[in-house]
Amino acid sequence: MTVAPGLFVPRLRHRRRIGTIVATACAVLSLIGVMFLGVLLVRIGKEGWSWLTTAFLTNFPSVLSPELAGIKSALWGTIWLTLITVSVSVPIGVAAAVYLEEFARPGRVRWFIHINISNLAGVPSIVYGILGLAVFVRWMHLGRSVLAGGLTLSLLVLPVVIIASREALSAVPKSIRLAAYALGATRWQTVRSHVLPAALPGIMTGVILALSRAIGEASPLLILGALTYVAFVPQSPWDPFTAIPLQVYDWIDRPQPEFHHLAAAGIIVLLGILLPMNALAIGVRAWHQRKKAW
């Protein structure tokens, strides 16, 4: 087929072929993340599985004999941190979200708090460690305690909780609120009995994701001056502590290969906590999207 110069040539077959090539390339590239995840999990499983014994869970760390070392103190430290973070960040975060979505009138105050929260969400986690070091450890004299660590992590995940809760609240249809008002309910009664229960699955998803972030964080705790070698379980919020990611970092930091196996075993424990939490969050969201009545 000859065509005069300057006329449009469709060349459709050629264009479609290029399209198929690029589409395949995109599909392959998007699998790189998945493959990375696969290699990472297999590698860590291989390195750490045989070191993951019951003794590993019930022993304290040991610098001299890696065969006897365990993560008991780190496991308990992480449990303490999680409990403190839940009890501080969830009430404050959900209350802040309720204020911004249900109570605050649109205006400068609401806009300012909104901008402020979205900027806080972008602040690197290590900077929260600096804040915690100056405010909780030094100024409030909490020292390098598990309470100082928990409060720091609470501030760190607060923006995550607020943003997720706001999204969940704003997804609740207006008709539910109007129906409650029509029956004479006050604003708070409406929120407590109707809006919050309807938004609960979305809030829970956000809270689980926020907690899984808090559990995996090491850098703010390092800045606080949390110890990496602790051979006791914290008995009160004022006791020194370590946490699983800190303990793992300490083991990675040592040159001997035995400690790298210990680190891998610690990572298995950490991922054994975090991956089910992530799955649960994704599951709750999927279940809620299928089930919701509106």
Partner: protein, 299 residues
């Protein structure tokens, strides 16, 4: 009508909720106050120290004589963050195009959560993987002159880490492009690829740029993976095969030692922290500005 008690309760609840929302504002104010106040103590009326901090090319605060030039740390930070973007941008953007334009919803419903799991893995795990797998089994066979601690392995794992950030924000931007733009192009007999690259991508460009900037901000603030994989030697270099140190890596290194309040080591944490905070805040603010422009475009 509400009883007096009922009215009081409504007001008290309103006030309590407001105070909770105010915690976030107090947090921001606290961060800025702490960083600026402690940094001011560090520079305290010492102009030459401030000039050295901003322009000096050697960072050795704990040696004798000490050097306080922060540029090597900034150089290391941007070397790793830039390398991470080189990894994350093509993969993240390709994933987003695949997810929003090509993938059937069944593939999408599997691939998206898996990418989210990548974002949920602690960064200390990425550091372990970089040090014990990426460097010895991927990089050292390819480049024989690479050091055990190197910027390249850190950049690769940080890049993988920010793929979910970039791909999910790009995905949102691509899906926000109205259907009628695509249909108009199809009506002119454009192929799917042409619609994606010449219509959808340009229309979503500001969203894609915002995604890149937010990913960059995350890479700049990333700590544990970088501290583990990149080493502890601050230097002005763009060579990815040698050990460098980032702003965050320095703060980790100093915090591991004994840092009594008021010591030089203690104060440098705040000066370096202020530098990091200022850089990430600037990148985040630009990203949000870009994003706002994009949201207004089709409404």
């Amino acid at each position: 009508m509400l009883s007096t008690f009922g009215r009081f309760r409504e007001r008290a609840i309103h006030a309590a909720l407001f105070l909770s929302a105010a915690v976030s504002v107090v947090t921001t104010a606290g961060i800025i106050w702490v960083l600026v106040y402690e940094s001011a103590l560090f520079f305290h009326g010492n102009w030459s120290l401030l000039v050295e901090f901003v322009t000096g090319t050697e960072w050795a605060p704990l040696y004798e004589p000490p050097h306080f030039g922060v540029l090597p740390l900034i150089c290391g930070t941007f070397l790793i963050a830039g390398g991470a973007l080189l990894v994350a941008l093509p993969i993240g953007l390709a994933s987003a195009v695949f997810l929003s334009e090509y993938a059937p919803s069944s593939v999408r419903s599997v691939l998206k959560p898996v990418l989210e799991i990548l974002a949920g893995i602690p960064t200390v795990v990425y550091g372990y993987f970089a040090l014990t797998f990426v460097t010895p089994y991927v990089l050292q066979p390819l480049f024989s002159n690479i050091e055990v601690f190197n910027a390249a392995s850190a950049a690769i794992v940080v890049g993988i880490m920010i793929i979910p950030t970039i791909s999910s924000l790009c995905d949102d931007a691509l899906r926000a492009v109205p259907r009628n733009l695509r249909e108009a192009a199809y009506a002119l007999s454009a192929t799917k690829l042409e619609v994606s690259t010449r219509i959808v991508l340009p229309a979503a460009l500001s969203g894609v740029m915002a995604a890149v900037l937010l990913g960059l901000a995350r890479a700049i603030g990333e700590t544990m993976a970088v501290a583990i994989a990149a080493g502890m030697s601050p230097k002005m270099t763009l060579n990815p095969f040698v050990s460098v140190q980032t702003l965050t890596g320095y703060m980790v290194q100093v915090s591991q030692g004994d840092t009594p309040a008021g010591s030089i080591a203690y104060q440098t944490i705040f000066a370096v922290g202020l530098t990091l905070f200022a850089i990430t805040l600037a990148v985040n603010l630009i990203a949000h500005r870009v994003l706002r422009g994009f949201r207004e475009a089709y409404e």
